[in-house]
């Protein structure tokens, strides 16, 4: 049976990128459908009526949303290049760091990105606290997945892919190599992985877009 895999996404979404990485690592052929989030398509509203968000993976007509849930589905459906490790405890830890990325790291990074003055200093404290946990977790490992990238790396990968963009826009270094040598090394190694490297969104286009988002946010505050 011919398999049909579609991914509703936007070129700049770090959540969609996680799924792109997973599918490419597994060598799964898919059609990417670029969504205009200011004008959501009937397809998106049909496939994700509850959240109305991308990414949505549609596999033989069945939709799945929420990037981390999609990653688990992809891992269970296509068994080549496993993203999660074998043992239950290691799997649970990988899921834990993925959740930590969305629960804690991402909001703290956003705080640093849009806040100013004293509020930004406090946001930095949050970021550093979170990065310390990641630094600890990377001890003795090249990637969170060990020798090669895995579930947690894909979940946290936006740090490697996007922090340099945030730093360029705010003109401040967020992840300093002296403070976080292991996280810094991981960031560099992650974007060197061929599948990751070839999938990175165009840098200048991304900077322009995210700068625009920041200005809008700060302007509205």
């Amino acid at each position: 049976m011919a398999e049909e895999v579609k991914l509703l996404m936007t070129w700049s979404s770090p959540f969609a990128l996680r799924v792109v990485w997973a599918l490419k690592l597994k060598g799964v052929q898919f059609d990417s459908i670029e969504e205009d989030l200011s004008n959501k398509s009937p397809l998106l509203l049909q496939y994700n009526p509850v959240h109305k968000k991308i990414p949505v993976l549609v596999h033989n007509g069945k939709p799945i949303s929420e990037s981390l849930v999609i990653l688990e589905y992809v891992d269970e459906t296509w068994r080549q290049y496993p993203l999660l490790p074998d043992g239950p405890y290691d799997r649970a830890r990988a899921r834990f760091w993925a959740k930590f990325s969305d629960d804690k790291v991402s909001p703290s990074m956003w705080g640093v990105f849009i806040k100013q003055g004293k509020e930004r200093e406090e946001a930095f404290d949050q970021v550093f606290e979170n990065l310390k946990f990641l630094e600890e977790e990377l001890k003795g490992k090249k990637f969170f997945g060990g020798e090669k990238i895995g579930f947690a790396d894909l979940a946290l990968g936006w740090i490697a892919e996007r922090v340099c963009v945030l730093e360029e826009i705010i003109g401040v270094k967020i992840v300093e190599e002296e403070k976080f040598p292991l996280v810094s090394a991981w960031m560099q190694e992650f974007v060197k992985v061929p599948i990751i490297k070839e999938s990175l969104p165009p840098h200048e286009k991304l900077v322009t877009k995210i700068r625009g988002i920041r200005e809008k946010f700060i302007g509205a505050a």
Binding site: H59, E72, Y89, R93, F96, F100
Partner: protein, 222 residues
């Protein structure tokens, strides 16, 4: 084989700890329960969960795990009897999605109605709207897991108890039998299942405990 050691650090009034208890009981896993004297967090808790510093924490043969839904998935993988998640990847994805929806879109709204002073009706209305959506996942089955209890049942089930407590204390409606017939019927069934019912804390104690919380959160004087 070496003897297995399973410890659950919990708190009697926590619905998140209750979820994990339900999972362990459904699997027939013997465990040692350690009650945390919240808000005084023990050094053990802080050592086992330095990231979030919260219960529940499951410690299996000395290895700690935090975050209740992740713990339940772990329990399901470590003990194969009585599977909680379905076999099919698409159904598993749906179970995880609805559990995430419940935690991220229903629970905060319910807490919002509970903690509000003046806006509780509006927040409860939003909570009801989101809770109603869960009925899509029931699809005429007795339980979210089908014929028997599964992952999503134990993820969501506590709303039947805590929801009623919030209704009583905050004077709102959250689970409405008329507009949510499927959810209401499911809750009535779920909470009567012996292994589920046996773990539920005393209604009276929970009510008093949460009345105290409510006073603090809303700054009420009485």
């Amino acid at each position: 084989m070496a003897e297995e050691s399973v410890k659950l650090l919990g708190y009697w009034a926590s619905p998140f700890a209750l979820r994990v208890k339900w999972a362990l009981k459904l699997k027939g896993v013997h465990y040692e329960y350690v009650e945390e004297n919240l808000p005084n967090k023990s050094p053990l808790l802080l050592r086992y969960n330095p990231v979030y510093k919260k219960i529940p924490v499951l410690v299996h043969n000395g290895k700690p795990l935090a975050e209740s839904l992740l713990i339940i998935e772990y329990i399901d993988e470590a003990w194969k009897q009585n599977p909680l998640l379905p076999d099919d990847p698409y159904e598993r994805a749906n179970a995880r999605l609805w559990a995430k929806f419940f935690d991220e879109k229903c629970v905060p709204e319910v807490m919002g109605a509970f903690a509000s002073k003046g806006e509780e009706q509006e927040k409860a209305a939003k909570a009801r709207e989101n809770l109603k959506m869960l009925e899509r996942a029931l699809e005429g089955k007795p339980f979210f897991g089908g014929d028997k209890i599964g992952f999503l049942d134990i993820a969501v089930g506590w709303i039947g108890i805590w929801g009623r407590i919030v209704e009583e204390i905050a004077g709102v409606s959250l689970i409405d039998a008329e507009t949510m017939p499927l959810l209401t019927a499911w809750l009535n069934n779920f909470l009567e299942v012996p292994v589920i019912k046996a773990c539920i804390p005393s209604w009276h104690e929970l009510l008093e405990h949460n009345k105290g919380f409510h006073k603090i959160l809303t700054g009420s004087s009485t």
